[in-house]
Symmetry: C2
Subunit: 332 residues, 2 copies
Amino acid sequence: MTQKCDDLGEREVVRRITKILGVSEKDDCAMAEDGERYLVWTTDMLHRKADFPGIATPWQIGWMTVAVNLSDVAAMGAVPLGLLVAAGIPPETDMSFVEEIFTGMKDCAHRFDTRVLGGDLDSHNELTLVGTALGWVEKDLALRRRGARPGDLLCTTGTLGSAGAGLRVALGAERKGETKRIEEDASLLALTKRLLEPAPRAKEGRALALSRSVTSMMDNSDGLALSLFDLAEASCVGFSVQEERIPIDPLVAEVAEDREDAVDLALTAGGDFELIFTVTPDRIEDAARACNFTVIGKALEEREIVIESEKVKKALEPRGYQHMSGFSEGKL
Amino acid sequence: MTQKCDDLGEREVVRRITKILGVSEKDDCAMAEDGERYLVWTTDMLHRKADFPGIATPWQIGWMTVAVNLSDVAAMGAVPLGLLVAAGIPPETDMSFVEEIFTGMKDCAHRFDTRVLGGDLDSHNELTLVGTALGWVEKDLALRRRGARPGDLLCTTGTLGSAGAGLRVALGAERKGETKRIEEDASLLALTKRLLEPAPRAKEGRALALSRSVTSMMDNSDGLALSLFDLAEASCVGFSVQEERIPIDPLVAEVAEDREDAVDLALTAGGDFELIFTVTPDRIEDAARACNFTVIGKALEEREIVIESEKVKKALEPRGYQHMSGFSEGKL
């Protein structure tokens, strides 16, 4: 009996592949021993249709390709060493479009003190960009998804929900043919920029590792909710999140239908590229010296993930960023 | 005025991109400084239609994806540290097909003492596999395309032309609907296996580096002729090749129309994944202790690339493996 990948679903496909490869632990990067340190590296395949809204400029497409990989390196507490890019480009593409893509890649890499060192160029029917980032981290400083202990404080850098709100703005404007309107509205423009020009938390990830106060970390590229499920599984803990503590980007209110919708965007929309991490309570001041962040909850002994507001405490659902296609975007 | 990529051609597209990125030298791998050694890494995008003949089994598709990247690591004289794979898979693909692909990857990596450490899974309209291999080499042992000096002996590992002959067999059998015939003929089967199950020269590349006798090296993935043009350009030398010394695989005669055609396959067909390198004449015995190879010519001061037979000496043309599409497969 044959089984199609899209009938099995992403998680099962990934589970079977990782079993074949003998990959036992899931982190933002793969790790290779290198004396006193780990080399960490990650790869991410992005497609024109599934990963980039129509309004994305080629420069933004290049920027995103580099940024998503640097975010994974940052989530390990590592220092980037460089990137490679394999680019599949439709032959009829304008050269100026291609040049803008690679300029965006270069600019993002430079912004975070690293470089695109090379790659591979290929012809493809759909624009396909595969970035690979390499970094290093001292063995005793490496931050992984496992390591959170019950009682640890749950934290996030930055604000949440704006990339999701930006995606809603972009898709809405494209549907109505009103993309010009975005450029004329500072708030809408800021939201879409948050989506299309993500700033990986490179400095913050490294500073948190050096603070030796963090017990587990990952980026929230698929949204806060899914990230919590991943952290919980890797660390064998649960989490409770205080709803009113979630640092929702104020601009999200311009797009969200109501407070509930804004919370939903902050919880389930991907693309913010913030760091989600846990801190030993008595080291919280060391963490606070490393960078700005918000404590949004704590790790639990019980294997449950709950969100608490003034009124109610309820189980968080594992909903998050999904590609358009049947299965996709699974870290091996 | 807009210019399309396929009007500009691969070389010009690559030239413009590398200029943007500031990538000044072309080698089989990108290099990053790491104390006393270099980290070397490479990425290669492969597609179902352009890179894998129809007769390729999923296991062979996986094997090839890993092998082509390990060949690049070998060409630097480096030791592999591991691989990542980004896989774009059509959702309607049978899971067993996917499992065979990843088993082929695992088997190839294990065969060459390394591992696939992780990757990214994505949905794509065409099967797209992007392997990335990481390795290391001592700074004073790293082998690059530059370094050949006039008078150096030009060498190749193994035999040439069989992958090209195998491709001819595969395409011919597919066209005629006679792929069954390949399985019944030991010679045809051996030729197609040479194409579909390439064995990167990992041991040889490393041994040659350790011999300290080699002045320049690359793999011949795009065919001997194009490799010579690349080595010549990087090293600022020319080459003369003795036609009768080219180690053509004896099986090539079963497919080639005549001797001239066999030489042409050995010169211009890609996929053999042998190492092409130059050796200082007085160190040739050190090189010979490292591994088996054949001296096929020598480096020249004149910037010409010529092939000499008993009868005639003529300029070698820069013809070689080309993908089906307008521009493709350019190392950045």
